[in-house]
Symmetry: C2
């Protein structure tokens, strides 16, 4: 039995504390990855705060972390036959395992596996020396991606990329991105390289120039009625990354006929939806969580080919509490990455 | 100038009264149709009641009626070049005209025309001797459809059929239909002939056998927790035709991964949507209004080929007030059709 060092919270909103746990023998389909870097996602913070306790109860101690990059250090006998090798650089995201035999798995939608397990739900995540993961969710990093900053692609990246594929978004589309943070700054880059016309919505006018460099041709910073009116009925897709209380009626009216409003990020509270605005333009409201293994690979190759990368700020993992405080102050870069230093 | 006899309401919730109006010269792209039959749709009743006054204000006098079948009696010079002929049997539905040159029109989605006009919005509808309609919305009735009962296909029929095409619903799907009335009883027939497994939800257990004959293999009549639980996660599409206050969280959890909840009928009040249930299964909420001209033709041919037809009860148009009272009492057949008797 190997002892693993990790950082855990022991109660809702607790500080991260050193934590050790024992690993059982490695499963036949499992891969053991030495964690080198791990991003901090808002879902980690939501789990630490136990925000959705009535829907997703969090067992403590909780070891967060699901934007992992690192090195394969061990493989079970089945995993060893799946094209992976010891020493290979890989990423691990939200999904820890999928069953392979349910309907979604058999259809290549392993992220929708009805028996699937998440890296940090009932399992110890990536703010640790090592993690164990099913071989199918052990994702080889393609040539050209920097292992230091690829972690956030494994969750934030796939989350904003998958809707472009799943919703059949054409490069001729007009795409809006509401909320330019960890997810949003990647959504802008993916949407622009997708070939789309991109408009960003932010509540921080100071970031306008920076946001344009990320790929937005237009930046709406605020609630100017004229600006909003001029955009009515023009968006084929609006990606909402800010799970805040928004004026949903106003946003839906920005959609073109057949337009899609896609909400990302975990939103536990019901929101009021005026169906009439969906009806009149044959529009839809949808949401999703990460993406399938096939889409994950496509996303990483697309990012490598187009030079899409998270804008990050690094902290040693031992300074995780400090990192979270900076993130919560709103003063950190788009994504914070922890460098494992056990 | 021709004088047209019609039935109109002059104030919200008014009785229908005889009304006459003058027609201007026929437009070049217009077709004049002698009304023989016209269905009563819930949207007619909603307009009579001025239900959505803050979103769609109704100008009075209002001549309702948009489930029309009849005969072409005149055509403008452009309309006359579009394959139609005097004396031809045709149908007219929700759409009176579309511009032909906006984005949706150019893409064959004329029902989403941004300059489109509806048959009963600012125009006098089909509870009248004659109506005028753009040639593109003058729909030839295919061989095998009974003109007496084809009217409800022009609105209720296309409304439930179009989502099967627009949402790319496979015949391998499990389709649920909530609310088995004017729209629902057609949705069951279309879904069953589509090849899908069909489950109906009704609050009227007495109709169970009748509903099975319409194509449902399972009928859920009530709120039995075990029955509902057994259906969790199994529907690829749920069509909601009852615009009542439903338990949306419970309904969304019936959807399979990638499942679609499609709401039909006009719903002015916002409904509370728990986005988390969309997120976890990559599901969507959508809505639509009728369908394009191309889909309209496909629907009519599909209905004729499969013997799909509305179950109707006929009243002379002069008894329209009586017909509405019977409809509102819940004792009428699935669809009421008025026979023009001016």
């Amino acid at each position: 039995m190997a002892t693993i060092k990790a950082w855990a919270v022991f109660k809702p909103n607790g500080e991260l504390q050193p934590f050790e746990y024992e690993l059982p023998p490695l499963g036949a389909e499992e891969v053991e990855v030495k964690v080198e870097y791990c991003g901090i996602c808002h879902t980690d913070l939501g789990f630490i705060a136990n925000e959705g306790a009535n829907i997703i109860p969090i067992p403590y101690p909780l070891v967060p972390g699901h934007e992992i990059t690192g090195t394969i250090v061990a493989m079970g006998p089945i995993a060893a036959q799946k094209g992976l090798s010891i020493g290979q650089k890989v990423g691990v995201g939200w999904m820890k395992s999928s069953c392979g035999h349910c309907d979604p798995c058999l259809n290549g939608e392993q992220n929708l596996c009805i028996n699937g397990q998440a890296t940090i739900m009932g399992n110890y995540g990536g703010w640790a020396e090592r993690v164990r993961v099913h071989w199918i969710w052990t994702i080889p990093l393609p040539e050209g991606l920097d292992i230091r900053d690829a972690g956030p692609l494994m969750c934030a990246g796939i989350t904003v990329f998958a809707p472009l594929m799943e919703l059949d978004i054409s490069p001729t589309s007009h795409i809006g991105v509401i909320g330019i943070g960890g997810l949003g700054h990647l959504a802008l880059q993916f949407a622009a390289e997708w070939g789309a016309k991109v408009t960003a919505f932010t509540n921080n006018p100071a970031k306008t120039e920076e946001i344009k460099k990320l790929g937005a041709s237009t930046v709406i910073a605020g609630n100017d009625a004229k600006e909003w009116d001029s955009l009515k009925g023009t968006f084929d897709l609006i990606i909402v990354t800010a799970a805040a209380h928004l004026d949903w009626d106003k946003i839906m009216q920005l959609l073109a006929p057949n337009g899609k409003l896609h909400i990302l990020g975990i939103l536990y509270e019901p929101i009021p939806i005026s169906v009439i605005f969906l009806t009149l333009g044959q529009r839809s409201l949808s949401s999703s969580l990460v993406g399938s293994r096939g889409v994950m690979d496509k996303m990483l190759r697309f990012a490598a080919r187009h030079g899409i990368k998270p804008i990050t700020e690094h902290f040693p993992m031992s300074k995780v509490n400090e990192a979270i405080r900076k993130l919560e102050s709103g003063k950190a870069a788009y994504r914070v990455v922890l460098d494992a230093d056990f």
